[in-house]
Amino acid sequence: MTTELAANGKPFVHHHGAHCETAVTSALFRYQGVDISEPMVFGIGSGIFFGHLPFLKMTGLPITAFRAKPGAVFRKAAKRLGVDFVVKTFRDPQKGMDELKQVLKTGQIVGLATNLYWLPYMSERHRWNFSGHNIIALREIEGGFRVSDPTIGEPVDCTADGLEQARFVPGPLNPRGHMYYINSVNLHPDLRQACIKGMKDSCNAMLKIPLPIFGVRGIRFLAKKVVKSLDKLGFQEACRHLAGTVRWVEETGTGGAGFRYMYAAFLQEAAELFGSDELADLSKEMTAIGDNWREFSVTAARIIKQRGKEEETFAKAGRLMLNCADREETLFKNLQKVVKKLKA
């Protein structure tokens, strides 16, 4: 936790977060005076999701998303909390940078979507072509910007060239200088109503999308693929794909176990807010599901490291995943029932 000053001298407190977008959103809210935690934003913005996109590849590996698409969490959370916000994208990089400077001068802090590879301060293990990383620009400094990256402990300096490169990565999944900021907030938002909306939306996203690659069905799809991958791709390649999947589960700012722990934290907070024991039970179940995902990732790591060849197989990894799918299906069905009973 470090305090920084924005352009107009208003203090901004930098919090370390687990996930870039929710942490940025919660920081923007806090800066405006609404104290709201990161898991709360994640739940209200319906961040939890699953999607396996075999046709969209990054560095040769398919995308497995455990969260809603970048940008959606902020938009949904802001709408549900009754916030006046601005979202902008640009075709021309120069215009995008000018606009950013102008908004910063008015004392706003601005959320930016950037590409992880081109951010100059990132270390090697974080650097890959992923265009959905969110940071906050605090103010302009000489030759660059002061930015607060919530996945890192401290605010850092970023060169203007580097930031421009990262905001306008040409090619597929171009963030197009996506920037967003909050004009004014409702200081006493209706949290209960927002939570109910968020939970309902999450249930629909996980259970009702009629495509086999999203939601609970998507997990089953991927599980079957993992089981088959050994015969289909050979050991080396199958390990690579498995490593790619586990990277999505553990590494890409998920707060552990593919956001499942973060959602459990949200359910815990919601249980306190509504005084509901049922939600507390669901939170415990979500934690168990998170443990299940973690077990999957550890199994995968053991396969890659070739430890305990007898018991750690691709079939076991697939089975663990199917187990996750079944448990999540029951959980979200129960959540649907519980939400109906809650009063705003």
Binding site: S123, I152, S297
Partner: protein, 127 residues
């Protein structure tokens, strides 16, 4: 084994939600072992790709463009879309004899996308 420890010693720990003794969720920076393994697999693969590309360029099989593409972790499709050049042309430009004949205007487009100077684009580091 060393690589795993090395790449995680960058002073940029990520946050993870874990339960404390009372069952309440708090943010901590202890990562899971499986993450280390998988990130190491991917990082070593990227490094190996770059090294392989460098050797191929030095032995005259590929053009320097191929090396710089690998350094930026792109593939021909990505690079083609970024530079605004057709994929089949980008793939052709990976051949050294064709790359040598390219017009400066085309080279400049590649240089801008890959964020290297024109001189760098025509060479690879000879470690």
């Amino acid at each position: 084994m060393e690589l795993e420890k090395e790449i995680f010693k960058d002073g940029m720990p990520k946050g993870y939600y874990t339960q404390n003794d009372n069952g309440k969720y708090v943010l901590e920076t202890n990562h899971c072992w499986s993450e280390e393994v998988c990130v190491a697999v991917i990082v070593s693969e990227v490094r190996a790709n770059i090294e392989k590309a460098r050797k191929e360029v030095l032995s005259g099989l590929k053009s320097p463009l191929y090396y710089h593409m690998e350094v930026r972790q792109m593939d021909p499709k990505f690079l083609a879309k970024a530079a605004g050049i057709a994929v089949f042309r980008v793939k052709r430009h990976m051949r050294p004899e064709i790359f040598a004949k390219l017009k400066p205007s085309v080279l400049e487009r590649y240089a801008a996308v890959l964020a290297v100077s024109l001189e760098e684009l025509k060479t690879v580091p000879n470690r």
